[in-house]
Symmetry: C2
Subunit: 334 residues, 2 copies
């Protein structure tokens, strides 16, 4: 073994080339599989790389190839528990899909309206594309990315048709889920929608979904009301005999469950209950609560897929959708 092959050294293509009596570029081609190259050479090179435990220096590769092999995932720094779960699952999806193409995910967290972190990452060229996991009204990140002409994909709705996005069609999904729940009420009845803060964009979508379901489905003998003040929900709960209660999210739903228990109303029997946002707590709560489940992992996966297609100049859809699933449990009478 020649002198340059010391143990514990991190080998470069030069080392492989020297060891094999080939040139660096041949080694590069053999390893990347691109360009014209002999099959036996490829085999020799690969064997040698394997034997020496060669790993390419991706920073050098990035510089030479003008690609960082990194994507940025932008998410808010402050978030509620259920949003954090959503982001974590999204992130998983991105990481998994990215890994399949040799890409890593770099996180970029920001407080409202502070685009500096994203700006740095983009302008310093630490990533090749960015994925926005949340959209604000008049989003500054979008403005920045457009101005810089930087590739990006949005998770969620509201970005418009010209922007590549992956959406779970919240409004439509909520509507369909509401219909499914309401149809359990075979003889009609009273439906209450308990909604969290309307400052949260997602809650607006849920409310829209609920309203469109109620207005378009022409249910027989169904009346409905909206409660937007969770703190005071116990009042609304006691004014009437509700037959179905729909909650905007898991936190709201847990509050409603507590109130219902205090009022000694039996969930799943006296009243049906469901949530527009699932939570692991619902699987084992008493009773288990039906909920709409957003497939955050797939959203992350798909958005990354779109971003990578963009980068590779492969044809891609601007509008992409991931279906929600209905987790029907005993709170809606099974």
């Amino acid at each position: 073994m020649s002198n340059r092959l010391r143990k514990d050294k991190t080998y470069t293509m030069d080392d492989l080339a020297a060891e094999l009596g080939l040139s660096k570029s041949t080694v590069s081609r053999a390893l990347s599989g691109s360009g014209r190259i002999g099959a036996d050479t490829v085999a020799r090179v690969k064997e040698c790389a394997e034997r020496l435990g060669f790993r390419p220096n991706l920073t050098a590769k990035a510089l030479a190839g003008q690609r960082t092999l990194n994507l940025a995932a932008v998410m808010p720094q402050e978030a509620t528990a259920s949003m954090m779960m959503f982001y974590h699952e999204c992130l998983s999806g991105m990481v998994v899909r990215g890994a399949r193409s040799g890409y890593n995910i770099l996180v970029c967290m920001q407080d409202d309206n502070d685009t500096v972190p994203l700006e740095d990452v983009v302008r310093n060229r630490k990533v090749d594309a960015v994925i926005l996991t949340q959209l604000k009204h008049d989003d500054k990140n979008v403005a920045l990315l457009k101005k810089e002409n930087f590739p990006f994909v949005v998770i969620g709705s509201g970005a418009g048709e010209n922007i590549a996005h992956v959406d779970s069609k919240m409004i439509e999904s909520c509507a369909a889920f509401a219909v499914q729940c309401v149809s359990k009420l075979e003889t009609g009845g009273n439906v209450l929608f308990v909604c969290g803060s309307l400052n949260v964009e997602a809650n607006n979508n849920r409310l829209s979904g609920f309203l469109s379901a109620m207005e378009n489905s022409h249910f027989e003998g169904i009346q409905y009301a909206i409660c937007t003040d969770v703190a005071d929900v116990e009042n609304d709960l006691s004014v009437k005999d509700w037959n179905l209660i729909l909650c905007s999210d898991d936190v709201v739903c847990l509050r409603v469950m507590e109130a219902l228990k205090r009022l000694e109303v039996q969930i799943g029997k006296d009243v049906l209950l469901a949530s527009f946002h699932d939570s692991i707590l619902f699987e084992t709560s008493m009773p288990p609560v039906s909920a709409l489940r957003v497939d955050a992992f797939t959203l992350g996966e798909k958005s990354t897929d779109v971003a990578l297609k963009m980068l590779d100049g492969i044809q891609y859809e601007k509008m992409n959708y991931v279906d929600c699933s209905f987790e029907m449990r005993s709170s809606t009478g099974k």
Copy 2:
């Protein structure tokens, strides 16, 4: 303006050098502030960089400087809701601290026992150091990192004294919190500790903390028991009149609350209740539940700080601690 100064171009140091009639190396020194350099030159260079909107190509900087300016945060892909919150907050801390030193955080998610993602990131030199947010018994990541002689920091306990770590002293904190709760029982009584799966390392620590509190504090007239089967907690709850129930985490605690309500036991009055793991749900639950709060953000921040010190060859402590706080709420009688 010379020809090379087109709008929308991303400038390089060569461009600045040409524009200023200086050499590239002078520009580099002026911008980095290192080496001998004239104050007026620095000013001129900075002004020009500013004017042209120059941003260094960090990939090139990384290659030349043999530093990626990235850290890896390793976290499990599968996690419970409260763990995800913990990771998200940790990540925030890392991102914030990293940004202060020009570092970005790259996420590395793995299922149990699959070290491949971390291995890739380390061996392909995509990061300068790694932060482990969770430790398993006989941790394979630790083994890998040690073998590769790669800088890393661990968040949590159990890594041993030779490994740099940032810990929230869970055992001690749980013990202290338990003491605080038990001392509410002025006339003695029965204490039950309801513990989640002991396969989770954190639960072992919580149990140890609880036990050490009970054994070392010599409370008068206090008896205690452990329940490790949450599914069957209602049984344990009914065999005796408990005066204080301590729960290992928020999910467990919510189950206990439900069971207690079914048994028509008044929390905060008939029985005191507290959790060794806080959750936003506890702030507004009925009643609000006292809990031990781990400062995940600071753990993330501090671990990153340690990692950066390592990389800069600055003196650092191997053992670092972040205090937990006691959120005392009305479930323990205020």
